[in-house]
């Protein structure tokens, strides 16, 4: 397993704790189906993933995870209100050019939405930007600005502001330090490397 994959086990566990056993789960940006596989094993969920990339879907099939290749908004529009018990957006929001409609649609088809993202306000990112005056480059921000991923970096402060503005109810939140493991209780926008939120309508 890569270093990043090891780091990821904790946020997977936290989302796993939030998910009710045997619930119907939609994973937006499911990638290779690692999280869904974990949820199927540990929570016996009835899960479906959505991703754009054929090879990701093929990896899901290899794992035995059901998945849909295509646009996540178009996918959600094909389902009635509240069809899913929970929608998960794990490290996906920051990849989207326009996350707001996705969040709105996820809260329509899902009774709850779990969001996990890398905190762009983390002090190391700020320091890098301050010292070098350039886009941070590290294990999370691996690419140069011109083939930039993530497309839409978001900080904890940004996200909290967005939820307040859109009147989205934050049911739970969990902030992790730079190791993505240890809980972070002080000044999360500065000291948390990773953030998890559960939203409800």
């Amino acid at each position: 397993m890569s270093k990043l994959a090891v780091k990821r086990t904790v946020d997977m566990q936290i989302i796993g704790d939030w998910v009710e056993p045997r619930s119907r789960v939609l994973d937006l940006g499911c990638g290779r189906g690692v999280l869904l596989d974990y949820l199927i094993q540990h929570k016996q969920v009835n899960g479906i993933g959505v991703d754009l990339d054929f090879e990701k879907i093929a990896a899901c099939v290899h794992r035995g995870v059901t998945a849909y290749q295509g646009d996540m908004l178009a996918f959600m529009r094909a389902f009635p209100d509240g069809y899913f018990d929970r929608v998960i957006c794990s490290r996906t929001l920051e990849e989207l050019p326009s996350p707001a409609p996705v969040i709105a649609e996820a809260l329509r088809v899902g009774r709850a939405l779990a969001v996990g993202f890398v905190n762009h306000g983390y002090w190391k990112n700020r320091l890098a930007a301050c010292l070098h005056g350039r886009k941070p480059r590290n294990a999370v921000y691996t690419t140069a600005w011109h083939d930039s991923r993530p497309a839409n970096p978001v900080s904890i402060a940004d996200f909290e502001h967005f939820c307040a503005e859109k009147n989205l109810r934050i049911v739970r939140r969990s902030h992790l330090r730079g190791d993505w493991k240890t809980p972070c209780h002080v000044a999360p926008n500065l000291f948390a490397g990773y953030a998890l939120y559960e939203l409800a309508r």
Binding site: S2, L4, D27, F54, A58, C60, V61, G64, A78, F79
Partner: protein
Amino acid sequence: MNDAEDIAPPARSEPGEVGLVEPHDFVHRTPFTFESGQVLPGFTLRYETYGRLNAARDNAILILHALSGDHHCAGIHALSDRKPGWWNNLIGPGKAVDTNKFFVLCANVLGGCQGSSGPSSLNPGTGQPYGIAFPFVTVRDMVRAQKLLCDHLGLTCLQGVIGGSMGGMQVLQWGIEFPGFVRRMLAMATTARESAQGIAFNEVGRQAIMQDPEWHGGAYAKGGGPRVGLAIARMMAHITYLSDASMDQKFGRKKKGKADNAAYTFDVQFEVESYLRHQGASFINRFDANSYLYITRAIDHFDLAAAYGSLEQAFAPVQAETLVVGFTSDWLFPPAQNREIALALLRAGKRATYAELDTDLGHDSFLLESPLLYNLVRDFLERGSA
């Protein structure tokens, strides 16, 4: 989740060939009532099998062919055969549909002309071919006849039903009609509801046949008949199996042989013309015009939403897990129609996956050799199976 976790491909031995195969005939000797209400005193299905049926008789995979296909989907009939069966690159020992593991079965559809009962079969009442007195055939009739063949072979279930185009329609119908019998459905380049465009192309093909004076209301002698009309129907249909990009790549504006660029003539000048004429000419030697009418009509009538009230209701009994594969350049059964199958299955609470391959080869993409597609098919069929 975007972490790229490497999945080490399992070591596999070099794929082999099915080799020499021979067709068999299943003769059903009791009356068969078609969806139309018409009855045949019995019917024959010609079929082939590859691989070995296990002791539990539960390792079978059924391959379902498209409009102009047949039961010969893998291997060769004689060492002198120039071409193997139509899906030979998919099926064989160590291939995506692995005949070392599965017992693979494929039958010519009811209404066909490659050995199964169809309009070119002899009507025992008249001693002449049925012609258009043959009962109207639906996709559901084809599937019900195949089930009788499965019962005859003593199969206890099907590990998979696989097909593209009209074969994909049969896949869906199998999962609906015999839900407890089917473990996995793999439908490619298909639809749950034949579109107006699809019906339109079928109708042009039928008109080409029926307007040919040699058609004689379907009552023509074996080997004769509307050869010109059938060839034109095939030429037209063949275009719908390709794409603008693939035709341009394959033929472009290339001239045939020493064709004079400047000559104002209606003889074959472009390679694409020559190719289509060849397609038409070779088709009339292996296909019956009345079968073409019957099978295209069966495709036209295929509309699961109308037949069951809605697509979700149609899929309500399904127990199988489904994989639907669409192809970006398929404009006969475009990706959206394939997606809709997976979405409706999901809405009906079933396990379904949709994958889409980016190819520029059009509708026929599902038949082309693609390691990406084959690995997907193998993973889908073999996960959780013995």
